[in-house]
Each structure stands twice: as C-alpha cells, then as structure tokens.
C-alpha cells in the first residue's frame, strides 16, 4: 500500500467512526448510505467485473432480511403467532435474547442466501447476455410474489422485526449500534473485494467479461468462478438485508425485502454512475447517488422520480463508463496504462 493510499483509508476510517458524532442528525441516513455501498459493490461483482447484468441480486437482500428477522423471533417465540398477532405486542425479547437472536440471525442471513446462490447458480449462470438479465429479473419478482404468499412470514402484510429492548438505553444507542454495524459491513465487503480482485478470482471474472469462450478454451472452468462470485455477493447482500430489516423495523415483501423497483434498480444505477468494473466506482457511485437522491426528495418533492430519471439519462449519455471510467479516459497513466518511453512508437519487430 502506498503512503497516499494509507492516508486515504485512514481518513475514511476516522470519518466513518466519527460520523455519528459529527452529524448526529444524519446517523440513519449515513447508515443507509453504507448499506447502499454494499448493494453497489456486490452488484458490481456480476454486473461490472464479470459482465453479467443481474437484475435479481435483490433476491439475496430479501432472503437475508427475512432469515434474520425470522431467526431472531423463531429462536424464542412461535414465529406464526408473532406474525399473526403483530407479535411485538405479545412477546418481548429480553436484552440477552435480543442480542443472541440478532447475532445468530445476522450470521444466517449471510449463509442462507449464499446457499441459495449456490443452488440456483448452476442453472441461472449458464445463461448469457439478455437471457441471464431477464431470468434474474424474473427471480427477483417471483421471490416477492412467493414471500407474499407465505403466512408464516406475514404474507402480503409483512412482519415486524424485534424492536430494540426497552430497558437497555435510549434509541440513540440503537441508532449508533446499527450505524457501526452498517459501517463495519461496508468495510468488510470493500476489503474482501479489494483483496479478491487482486487474486486469480478477480482476473478470471474480468476474463469472463471480456471473452468467456476464450477463457474456457484456455482451460478455465468459468462456471466455478461465476458461482463463487454469486455466493460472495449473496452473503454480503444477505447481511445487508438482515441489517436493513432491523433498522426499518418492518418487513414487507415487495416494497422493502424484494424491492426490485427501488433497491434493485438503485444498485445497478449506483455502480454505473461510479464506474462499473472498478473497485472504487460503486463506492463513489453509491455515495453520490445517495446524496443526489436525498436532495431530490428534499427539494423536488413530488418531482423526485422525474429528477431521478433525468439523472439516469445524464449518466447514460454523458458518463457511460461512470465517474471512474471518465477519469480513466482523461488520465490513463494514473491507471497504469503506459507504453515504455524508450519504445513509444514501437512496432512489433521479429527478427
């Protein structure tokens, strides 16, 4: 790591840790922002690095959300009664129960979506191009419909997640607790992907994006990498879902859990805005997008979706490669694209 990098990472870490105290009024907003970064980063594993436009990653987000809340409740109380009765009125988690359930729920909210990704991966990732895109779109929509039909998890009415225990401190503490978890998840996702992109895994994903047939012809079992990549996305995304469900406090199948029309689209937009296929692109894209979006909702209320649409058009027309792609085109040498000075006009010469 160069000195410059260390300074940048140090600054982000300090800012991330200090943010709840610097901007106490925006704690929840910034927590959501970190989750959006996770959404963009995990989408980019498929959409950017691997060149598979997935419109169904929201599936894992939703599964994680339901699994986490379901485990939190089901570990101590009958889940069916909780969902039927608006259970938080009848059943109360003690603080120990709350944190035990939350801890185990959060772990499973990573594992279960990972398993789902592994199970459906072989079939779905065998499709290419538009077929893959359409198929994943269908998956996300179907998941919302299915969840809306399962009584155990509240069907179409949705379910509540366990409320913060009453006797352990203020709601202030609650929002800090979730803030740091969101920040930690974002950091973990980022650092894992940063490492993974330096390994063979990252190179193979890029090779699949550039020419999958060639990669196979060179002896690479591309399917293994595609599935592994999807599992990675699903795990981090699932945990993000688990956190989101707890922060919002209420899980609804189509608008919150399998929210293809909002989060499902946002994750694509954010990655494209920042520059897909780069490590920093999704991070920058998510932060910029969140700020824009909150601005629209504040200043253009009523017109917010029009403003958002205009933003999308501007991105696609003027920054098709995103912010990072645009920078790369302007300053290629900063991205390591150089020709040896000694031989700048070199033609291939074979003696």
């Amino acid at each position: 790591m160069t000195k410059n990098n260390r300074i940048i990472y140090g600054l982000i870490l300090i800012l991330g840790i200090a943010a709840p105290f610097l901007f106490p009024g925006f704690k929840l907003q910034i927590s959501f922002m970190w989750l959006l970064v996770v959404l963009a980063l995990t989408w980019d594993v498929q959409g950017g690095q691997m060149g598979y436009n997935s419109f169904g990653n929201i599936l894992f987000f939703g599964i994680g959300m339901y699994v986490c809340a379901g485990v939190q409740i089901g570990m101590f109380f009958p889940l069916a009664e909780w969902t039927a009765s608006g259970g938080e009125e009848t059943f109360v988690h003690t603080p120990t129960q709350y944190f035990q359930g939350f801890f185990i729920g959060l772990i499973l909210s990573g594992i279960v979506p990972g398993i789902v990704a592994a199970l459906i991966g072989y079939g779905v990732l065998g499709l290419r191009g538009q077929y893959f895109a359409i198929c994943t779109l269908g998956l996300g929509i179907a998941a919302g419909e299915i969840a809306g039909g399962i009584e155990l998890i509240g069907a179409g009415q949705g379910m509540t997640s366990p409320p913060w225990p009453k006797n352990i401190g203020s709601l202030e503490l609650r929002s800090q607790f979730f803030y740091y978890l969101c920040f930690a998840l974002m950091a973990a996702t980022f650092l894992f992907l940063k490492y993974a992109y330096q390994t063979r895994f990252g190179l193979v994903l890029n090779a699949i994006r550039d020419n999958e047939d060639k990669a196979e012809a060179m002896g690479i079992h591309t399917m293994r990498y595609k599935i592994t990549g999807w599992i990675v996305s699903a795990c981090f995304l699932g945990v993000a879902g688990g956190l989101m469900g707890n922060m919002v406090g209420y899980i609804e199948p189509v608008e919150i859990a399998f929210a293809g029309a909002t989060f499902g689209v946002f994750m694509v937009l954010m990655a494209i805005l920042g520059g897909k296929g780069t490590l920093w692109g999704p991070v920058i894209g998510a932060i910029a997008f969140h700020i824009f979006k909150e601005g629209f909702w504040t200043f253009f209320l009523g017109w917010q979706y029009v403003a958002l649409g205009a933003l999308i058009v501007i991105i696609v027309v003027f920054f098709p490669e995103g912010i990072m792609g645009w920078l790369r085109e302007r300053y290629p040498d900063k991205f390591g694209e150089t020709v040896d000075e000694s031989d700048i006009k070199a033609q291939v010469e074979l003696k």
């Binding site: 390994t199 063979r200 890029n206 060179m218």
Partner: protein, 247 residues
C-alpha cells in the same frame, strides 16, 4: 513415433450442412501438420469438434491416448490441447500482462487457488514470453487497443503461457504483413523445436504452410480430399483443382 492426435471418421452436421463428413487424420507427436482447404471447407469446424466446442455427430477423437470427444472445452484444454481462434480472441479490457497471467495453467481450481494471489514468477514468465513475440513494450496497454496483428501475437503468447502439449492454430498469419510473417514462421518453428509443442495449423498462405509443415491435410466440402507431404500436395491434381487453382 506415436500419434498425439487421432481423429477417426468424425462427422459434424449443421442442419443440412455437412461441415465435416467422415474425416480421419492423425498428427504425430512433435510434428507440424498443416490443414488447408477452400473457404467453408470445414477446417474451423474440425477444430471446434476436436476441442469440444460442439458435440460431434459421429466418430472418435483421441488426444494423447485419451478419448476426448465427450469432454467439455476446459477439460480438453487442461489435458494440454489448446486452440487459437480465427477471429482473434483476447481479453480486450485487460492489459497484456494480465492477459498472460490469466492464461497460465491452473491444475486445480478450488476455493483456495481461486483466492490466492498470483505468484511473482508468473509475471516474469509472462514478460519473457511477451518479449518472445515482440510485445514487451506494450505490456501495460489494454489488449483491446493493440493492432490486429499484435493481438494475434498476444494470443499466441497466451497459448504458450499455458504450456500446452499441442496447439491448434487457426490462420496464425492472416492479416499480418509479409515481413512479420517470416518472424511468425520462425517463432512457430522455435515453439515446435525448443518447447516440443506439436502444431496443427490452418493456413491459406501457401508459402507459410509449405515452409512449416511436414505433412498436410486438405479438406474440401467437409471431406478429406488429400493428404501427404508438402510437395505431394502441391502437385496433387485434386488439390490444384479444388483449391490452388491452375497455375
């Protein structure tokens, strides 16, 4: 000497098109063999059949004593049988070094090898091979920004990076200027002699194939028309009629 590749009575149809019909050919280990024939005579299709791009309709293909006609493409490649493409295929958005690194042979592909860093020695090996094909200066450029001929050379270097036992080359000199062609012929001869890689080469350039190959097979209309040494082929009346044309 033994045969490294043995193609027996292979047929491949696309609907009504008989792209390969009952083709048999053998390639001796360590040799350079040519494959010629008019456009559309089924040469590329035969390559595709050999490496498993599509299932064949009939016949058997043995590589290194092993039946490969049922194996998927990556499995055949892992056995050491690689092909290059007529429409050159490289990873356009990766730079030349990365193109090379990704091409190195990976015996095992599991969670540990996937997430391990690429060893330093590989970069050195990649640079040496890029020097060998004259692309060292361009090593940090995106492969997609190279000229067509340079991409062909890169593709060749990528194949070498994989240390195959045998290479199927689909028109290695198409679109390359005449002086560079001589360089490529030399490189191919070196690859064959020093690295001991067996070559099966599709070529339309007669000068190239006559200089390279010890044995030539000629296809026409999906069928094997003739086989023999370069001089025999050059003077074979059927080949002249179908392909070389009266001179």
């Amino acid at each position: 000497m033994s045969n490294i590749l043995q193609v027996e009575r292979v047929s491949k149809y696309f609907g009504g098109v008989k792209a390969n019909e009952n083709i048999s050919l053998t390639v001796e280990k360590g040799s350079i063999v040519g494959l010629i024939g008019p456009n559309g005579s089924g040469k590329t299709t035969l390559f595709n059949s050999i490496v498993g791009t599509h299932p064949i309709d009939r016949g058997s293909i043995q590589f290194d004593g092993k039946e490969v006609s049922e194996l998927p493409v990556p499995a055949v490649a892992k056995l050491g049988l690689l092909r290059t493409f007529q429409q050159t295929r490289i990873y356009g958005k990766l730079n030349c070094i990365e193109n090379m690194l990704i091409s190195s042979k990976q015996e095992k592909e599991n969670i540990f090898t996937m997430f391990s860093k690429i060893p330093e020695e590989l970069t050195v090996k990649a640079e040496n091979l890029l020097k060998f094909v004259g692309l060292y200066q361009k090593r940090k450029l995106r492969a997609g920004d190279l000229s067509f001929g340079q991409q062909k050379l890169l593709e060749l270097a990528m194949a070498l990076m994989n240390e195959p036992k045998m290479l199927l080359l689909d028109e290695p000199t198409a679109g390359i200027n005449p002086t560079l062609i001589n360089g490529i012929i030399d490189r191919l001869l070196t690859i064959n002699k020093e690295y001991g890689i067996t070559l099966l080469v599709i070529e339309h350039n007669m000068r190239v194939i006559m200089n390279l190959a010890q044995r030539i097979f000629c296809l026409a209309h999906g069928q094997l028309l003739a086989e023999g040494e370069p001089d025999q082929i050059k003077n074979d009346q059927r080949v002249i009629d179908a392909y070389l044309g009266a001179q």
